[in-house]
Symmetry: C2
Subunit: 339 residues, 2 copies
Amino acid sequence: MTAEANLRIVLAARPHGRPTPADFRLERTAVPEPAEGQVLLKILYLSLDPYMRGRMDAAKSYAKPVEVGQVMEGGTVARVEKSRNPDFSEGDIVLSHSGWQGFALSDGAGLRKLDPKAAPVSTALGVLGMPGFTAYAGLLTIGRPKPGETVVVAAASGAVGSAVGQIARIKGARAVGIAGGAEKCRFVRDELGFDAVVDHRAPDFPEQLKAVCPDGIDVYFENVGGPVWDAVFPLLNEFARVPVCGLIAQYNKTDHAGADRLPVVMRAVLTRSLTIRGFIQREFADQRPAFHKEMADWIATGLVRYREDIVDGLENAPESFIGLLEGKNFGKLVVRVVG
Amino acid sequence: MTAEANLRIVLAARPHGRPTPADFRLERTAVPEPAEGQVLLKILYLSLDPYMRGRMDAAKSYAKPVEVGQVMEGGTVARVEKSRNPDFSEGDIVLSHSGWQGFALSDGAGLRKLDPKAAPVSTALGVLGMPGFTAYAGLLTIGRPKPGETVVVAAASGAVGSAVGQIARIKGARAVGIAGGAEKCRFVRDELGFDAVVDHRAPDFPEQLKAVCPDGIDVYFENVGGPVWDAVFPLLNEFARVPVCGLIAQYNKTDHAGADRLPVVMRAVLTRSLTIRGFIQREFADQRPAFHKEMADWIATGLVRYREDIVDGLENAPESFIGLLEGKNFGKLVVRVVG
């Protein structure tokens, strides 16, 4: 790759179940020139997030799918290389949604300037960005944990889960994390300070979860689905709240044979007065200023910690993304596009 | 039955699936004598409601089960026959929860005096009672219909459904009812004034429902479950609300073979930001005074109509209740215990 090439990764084919490297294609194009009013962005960091799996399918989700042949979408941190827009100067660092590529044009709409002195700019893709805000808005607006209540979250070492548990503790609730493997569990308990953590790979995972939730579960922040849901579900207390922001365990599933669990779940919704509420963080956009302020304070005072899993090189994005869907990352997964 | 016998119906056996007459037993006991502080109630009307099916099972629901050999529970309207409680006089008409029997003792706790001049006293078991309040609180607090939105409710000629649709219209929403058979559909449309009604027995019921919901469904007041849910589910709009107060279609089901519908429902919860919220009306007890006032006004001004299906004789309660679970009633089902 020369300085003049724009490396980009497009959707080559719609995956059936688990994505494979063949579903992505690396392309080289010319670096575009900004027109009047535009800026040329050089991408520094690309965020890899589970929701991107949904964009690879043709089915309508809350956003339209990526078309085959189109650049994969995604949040990015970029530097303004050239500016023909009076609102931006060369060298500005911005949050953008430029996708899986090295360069992008923008008319400035939707760009947010970042202060590199305030925090590492990659955090605008994680704890101070969309995943952190997903945790904040979903937990506080839908989950509404009260002091002493038990909050459970899976993928607890990940971008969303780690914030959910730490915010729950700030609000006086007990935080119980679920993670995969001893190393992640240790991190969740010892570094993030969760009250308890359970390894979902343990053969007796449901029993372990029950043991660390002696008073049941009042808030289950659902970001994985699958077997974790099956273990959590019997423990949900009357009036429990279940904000649903992701179902990573079922994104790659292609069939749903087996007993129909819906009637049992609906019966519990009825008899235990449960709330199950799906959401996308942008619904709560008016809370973003409060989030940015509170989360920056919590980080500064050590109340919230975070971990990034940084992968070098855009060409490694497909493999890293496939690994993300299997829980192979450890912390917020970010691709460093430019070293 | 002499004046001195207390006729009562006890749970004889826990039903497996659909209850049968053999699950109930008629007993005659002596009419009890009130102790100091108690009143003797003579039951005038007994309410029959779908929730009672749940009480017949041993499984924990939001209330504890009726034990085998115990009198079936239920809401009642009664006359005070003898009073040794200074708060009540002979002849007072009260709302009580005395169950399937002719006489009962009470210490006065939980009794509410009714004014027979204000409304037929049987309405305290229906439109002005628990079913009407279930409709009111669930629709307004969880469903929150906005003007122009589409509200769908099943069992639309029944005690809860008829109130849901009419309150939705009062709030400026479109009310779409689902009912079983031409006679009930006609009643829902022509007498209750719903904007549209669909017969769930029609072979093309899902297509008919879709046709009368051209803008999708914003609130689905869930009181039946089963095939109606399957027809409603694809039509739920983004941010739709689903208050769940009953699942009559699945109460008698004993197996749930077939495809697992839960993953598809959870995916829709996520991608369409749905809210599914179970509730029992007593959670909203602080709204009861407002309900009593508003509903009485709506009835007085003709904005809310209601229909009662009155069955004579306590001995007919089991058969009527079994029919209720199959939709054989037409309007709020009430047993006139004393003619």
